[in-house]
């Protein structure tokens, strides 16, 4: 019974996490990754046999052999593995939070990721906005993302206020206009 509940819990966490990761929001992405790691950690927890009230800690260090013989013990190894996995995912989550907040700060906090994506897509050589020919875009001088982004960065630094989103070269808006 415990195993079934644990399995259902793991499945729910993984499903919810995957759904959240695929959403657009940045905070949802972070939460989704957190749920995914929790799901996998719980699965690791279940990989040792589940025993209630059987702590893997000896009460009496000197004659532990006797205690081992008389009492049921949970497997301590999965717990050590989970601890390591938690430490690693903690560090990575902190790193992603820093990245996301930095992206927010660099591009202006008003922009939600969809608009940011449109803004960056507008500089993307494969983004065929406004019915432009792909070869035109491909070899135009504006297609080198590295320089464009460097240029944008300078502009952003000078600006200190939220960026405008170009109304002319967004597929979303042009499709709604039609």
């Amino acid at each position: 019974m415990t195993t079934i509940v644990l399995g259902l819990l793991v499945a729910t966490l993984l499903a919810t996490g995957s759904y959240m990761v695929m959403r657009r929001g940045q905070i949802k992405l972070i939460l989704g990754l957190g749920l995914l790691t929790h799901g996998v950690n719980l699965m690791l927890f279940g990989s040792g046999a589940l025993l209630r009230g059987a702590t893997p800690i000896f009460k009496d260090k000197d004659n532990f052999a006797q205690e081992l013989a008389t009492r049921a013990f949970a497997d301590p190894l999965p717990q050590a593995l989970i601890l390591t996995a938690i430490v690693i995912s903690f560090g990575l989550t902190a790193f992603i939070v820093v990245l996301v907040s930095r992206r927010d700060a660099l591009t202006g906090s008003d922009l939600v990721p969809g608009e940011l994506a449109r803004y960056i897509n507008a500089q993307d050589p494969f983004h065929t906005a406004g019915g432009q020919d792909i070869s035109e875009v491909l070899f135009s001088d504006a297609s080198d993302d590295y320089d464009i982004l460097q240029f944008e960065l300078d502009e952003i630094y000078d600006r200190k206020e939220p960026l405008p989103v170009d109304a002319t070269d967004t597929t979303v808006e042009s499709s709604t206009a039609e």
């Binding site: 902190a94 939070v97 907040s101 507008a122 504006a142 240029f151 170009d166």
Partner: protein, 165 residues
């Protein structure tokens, strides 16, 4: 303006959290506790400081110590593992000494040193992350550049929006 009650709470809680951190660190080698959890306790204390006094003040106080803290932690961790190599017991072998001094009866060994290394490295990294998150990123870092000289935009590419007009 920082709330008054938060600052009052900080007066009481910060020493308490630091003390719990130290206790967890010292008993961690063969009882529940350990370097990582102690580091999180200490970082929680610093987080409270950031909330109550502001990140700028905390950075001014301990910001310069963070990188040496991480470095010392890494060196201590490797050093404690290498100690066993020098005594011939092998990499990561546990070596123990006992301290008996008056009422103090404490066991010290390479696992404790390793815990201390983990503690220092994790504390440094966590506080650096928190300070990075709580101050405005653009203002605090230098401007990144591709080359060694400032970028000269002799011919700026035309913006897509301007082209359309």
């Amino acid at each position: 303006m920082i709330e008054l009650y938060l600052r009052l709470l900080d007066r009481v809680l910060t020493p308490l959290l630091l003390l719990i951190g130290v206790v967890l660190l010292l008993r961690g080698h063969d009882a529940p506790g350990g370097g990582f959890i102690a580091a999180l306790m200490v970082s929680a204390a610093i987080a409270l400081q950031i909330l109550s006094n502001g990140a700028r003040l905390v950075r001014a106080r301990i910001g310069r110590a963070l990188q040496p803290l991480i470095a010392t932690g890494l060196l201590l961790g490797v050093g404690s593992a290498l100690l066993g190599v020098f005594t011939g017991q092998g990499f990561f072998a546990g070596i123990w000494w006992s301290i008996h001094w008056g009422p103090i009866d404490y066991k010290i060994g390479t696992p404790v040193l390793f815990d201390l290394g983990v503690f220092l490295a994790v504390t440094g990294a966590t506080i650096a992350f928190m300070l990075g998150l709580s101050t405005n990123v653009i203002e605090t870092t230098d401007e990144p550049r591709l080359g060694k000289r400032p970028v000269q935009h002799a011919a700026q590419p035309a913006r897509r929006g301007e082209e359309a007009q």
